[in-house]
């Protein structure tokens, strides 16, 4: 199953890595080639356009911090000429780079120094969405429902008046999962899986406690008009239309 899945996602998928560091390009090529991707390389804008002209490319990994024609300009020009998904590599913690990068049309971003597995996961995500033929390839940056906006990057809620309501990590992940699957029942186990996240450690908050906290934060009175509905002996669902915002 695993091998089949890998075949499905990476067979014939071509990634173009645009980075000014030759060694990093080389390492990325090795890393992705070992995982059955076809990897093309470019050291900057000129080579990138050259590669794009000669090959069909499924995804561009673009370093934002490059000398010469910078990543942002390349990103904008690329987006203007093609629908090829772009994964942007940014400086860590530089909010401006991230925001501008996303505005320039990048589908997703990752800080340097990234963990290779994280990069692989993001690449696969973008490719899956592209292959599903979604009109909007881009990773949703915000989910909007019932007067609330769940900001995925900032990991907080914004109410209808624009006031930011922060969420603990576990509650954020639960709400994100619920909002990504609106009107679908999610079991406590499914929710617990995401709630504990990658952080190891004793997770002593039960899902029920977290759901009740979330309801309080969402001013959810429960009952028939509840936003997060309890489905007896099954789990919970978010009873609202959810709009994805890039």
């Amino acid at each position: 199953m695993c091998a089949l899945e890998r075949m499905n996602w990476s067979m014939n998928k071509t990634i173009l890595v645009v980075d000014d560091d030759a060694e990093l390009r080389q390492l990325l090529q090795e890393y992705f080639s070992e995982r059955d991707f076809v990897v093309l390389l470019a050291d900057g804008g000129a080579q990138m356009w050259e590669q794009i002209k000669n090959h069909t490319i499924d995804l561009v990994i673009l370093d934002l911090m490059m000398p010469g024609e910078d990543g942002l300009t390349l990103c904008r020009n690329l987006r203007a000429s093609a629908k090829t998904p772009i994964l942007m590599l940014t400086a860590r913690g530089d909010e401006m780079d991230r925001i501008v990068g996303l505005e320039m049309g990048a589908d997703d971003y990752l800080h340097k120094p990234f963990i290779p597995r994280e990069l692989l996961a993001r690449v696969k995500n973008i490719l899956r969405r592209a292959s599903e033929g979604r009109e909007d390839n881009r990773t949703a940056r915000a989910l909007q429902f019932a007067g609330w906006v769940l900001d995925i990057d900032a990991r907080h809620l914004v109410d209808s008046k624009g006031v930011i309501v922060s969420l603990p990590a576990g509650e954020f992940r639960i709400l994100k999962l619920l909002a990504e699957n609106p009107n679908r029942v999610l079991s406590r186990d499914q929710l617990l899986d995401v709630a504990s996240g990658r952080e190891a450690g004793p997770f002593d908050r039960t899902i029920d406690v977290m759901i009740s906290r979330l309801r309080r934060r969402l001013n959810d009175e429960g009952g028939d008009t509840a936003l997060i509905k309890t489905i007896r002996s099954e789990g919970y669902l978010l009873a609202s239309k959810v709009e994805r915002r890039a």
Binding site: D21, E30, P168
Partner: protein, 491 residues
């Protein structure tokens, strides 16, 4: 009580006012003294002249005519009457009386039978009594022993004494204020006279004092304005110097005012620019190193993907993560609060609850005592980081229970994060905010931490127009106090 004011303004004003007061007082004293001497001198001569004139006129007249004329002669400041009996002086005749009699005799150009019942001379310290009517000495009904009634004149003083008195009189002005006396005319009629300085004499000094007071007050007010103008730039210079440590981007001081002040302001602005440039250069160097380290770390992370899964690989991964975190912290410290994040209105209660909840998840014991607080415009991610760092610090070094409280004031919000740990010496409460400073004794070595947590927290708070301070908590432990200004919207 402090007599010397501490402010420059106060000291200059004190010196100016004291000098002004002394000069005014000396001026007033001199003027009044001169006036008094002049007036009294006039009065003394005038009194003798007038009384001598009255005596000589009355002497020449028939008794019947005297009573008619007495009305004409009886004008202030001299009161004349013919109806009083000869009195015996209550006190022995003094030097003043003798000299007055001599003066009258001089005017009459002959000796006369005159006695002085009361005489008041000006004394410098009694000037305020000048011209005031003095109480009349008690009248005695017993007639004075009449000196030779038939004799036309009777000298009351021998010639030698008279010459001495003359010289005396020249040496000191004849400052008679009030004199009461009697003279016997050639036919034996008794003339009683009282002469006093008119009361109007007081008006002069009052007017003088008034004009001097107006002058004094206007000079004092003008000086106050001028001195305030001089010291104000100094005060703003001091404010700017105080604020420099907190905000290097403080707008430059206005380079105006007096030359010296403008020069100081220019020097200060130049210093601010220099410090700013210096710090920017250092920050850029540190940021550049941190940025550049990320490439090798990225490469290393890709390289260890080739190592077989196992202890070696996982240890290398955690080393790399630690390096990554150190770099991240350094960069975060360098750009604290200025990473491009926008300020929005944030529900502080929800923020604190979220951070608390996250901390409880990793094993902290926290009790919240929070009042509901109005949303505040802050950078949510930065402030979350700030609170996380403070809580993390309390958890690492405080051990045990942590108490968090939030209280709202009209102009600020105060968040207290208190632990019951072993604490640190009071002298180190500020030092721990310095980047990369860690307390030697503590379990810091075991618990890790970048040494930047508090520095980042403070930098973020200051970027929000607030601050973070540590204080010893009563009953043991440390209180971290985060204040956020309501009036400052983070730039």
């Amino acid at each position: 009580m402090r007599i010397m004011p501490r402010t420059l303004f106060g000291q200059i004003m004190l010196a100016l006012c004291a000098g002004l007061l002394a000069a005014q007082a000396a001026g007033i004293w001199l003027t009044l003294n001169d006036r008094a001497r002049f007036g009294e001198g006039l009065l003394g001569s005038f009194a003798a002249q007038r009384i001598a004139g009255v005596i000589s006129i009355l002497d020449d007249l028939e008794p019947a005519e005297r009573h008619r004329l007495i009305h004409a002669l009886n004008v202030p400041p001299t009161h004349i009457s013919l109806d009083e009996p000869w009195e015996t002086p209550a006190e022995p005749v003094g030097e003043d009386a003798k000299s007055f009699i001599a003066r009258v005799e001089q005017e009459l150009e002959r000796p006369a039978v005159i006695q002085v019942l009361s005489i008041k001379r000006a004394e410098p310290r009694r000037r305020d009594n000048a011209g005031a009517a003095l109480p009349r000495p008690p009248e005695t009904s017993a007639p004075g022993k009449a000196a030779n009634a038939d004799s036309a004149v009777r000298a009351t003083a021998n010639p030698a004494a008279e010459s001495e008195r003359r010289s005396n009189r020249r040496a000191r002005p004849n400052r008679v204020l009030f004199v009461e006396g009697q003279a016997r005319l050639t036919d034996g009629t008794i003339v009683t006279f009282r002469h006093s300085l008119p009361e109007a004499g007081l008006e002069g000094p009052l007017r003088l004092l008034g004009s001097l007071a107006i002058l004094g007050i206007s000079v004092a007010l003008l000086s106050a304005w001028a001195v305030r103008r001089l010291t104000l730039p100094l005060a703003s210079l001091a404010d700017a110097a105080t604020g420099l440590a907190r905000n290097l981007d403080h707008p430059p001081l206005p380079e105006n005012g007096p030359l010296e002040v403008a020069k100081a302001a220019r020097a200060f602005n130049a210093m601010q620019d220099d410090i700013k440039r210096y710090l920017e250069t250092r920050a850029q160097a540190l940021a550049a190193v941190s940025h550049d380290l990320r490439l090798p770390i990225t490469r290393l992370r890709l390289r260890i993907e080739r190592i077989a899964e196992g202890e070696l690989k996982s240890k290398m991964e955690s080393d790399l993560s630690e390096m990554d975190e150190m770099i991240g912290n350094t960069l975060e410290f360098l750009r604290a609060g200025a990473n491009g994040e926008k300020a929005s209105r944030v529900d502080l209660n929800a923020l604190i609850e979220s951070v608390t909840e996250d901390m409880i998840t990793v094993g902290a014991q926290i009790t919240l005592h929070c009042d509901a607080v109005q949303p505040l415009p802050v950078r949510p991610q930065a402030l979350r980081r700030c609170l996380t760092n403070l809580l993390d610090n309390a958890r690492r070094y405080g051990g045990g229970d942590i108490d968090i409280s939030i209280s709202e004031r009209p102009d600020k919000v105060e968040i207290r994060i208190e632990d019951r740990g072993p604490g640190i010496p009071e002298s180190d409460l500020e030092r721990v905010f310095e980047p990369y400073v860690r307390m030697e004794s503590s379990r810091a070595k075991h618990t890790g931490g970048s040494g930047l947590g508090l520095a980042i927290a403070r930098a973020i708070a200051r970027a929000h127009g607030g601050d973070v301070k540590l204080a010893l908590r009563s009953g043991g432990g440390i209180a971290a106090i985060l204040t956020l200004s309501r009036n400052v919207v983070p730039a």
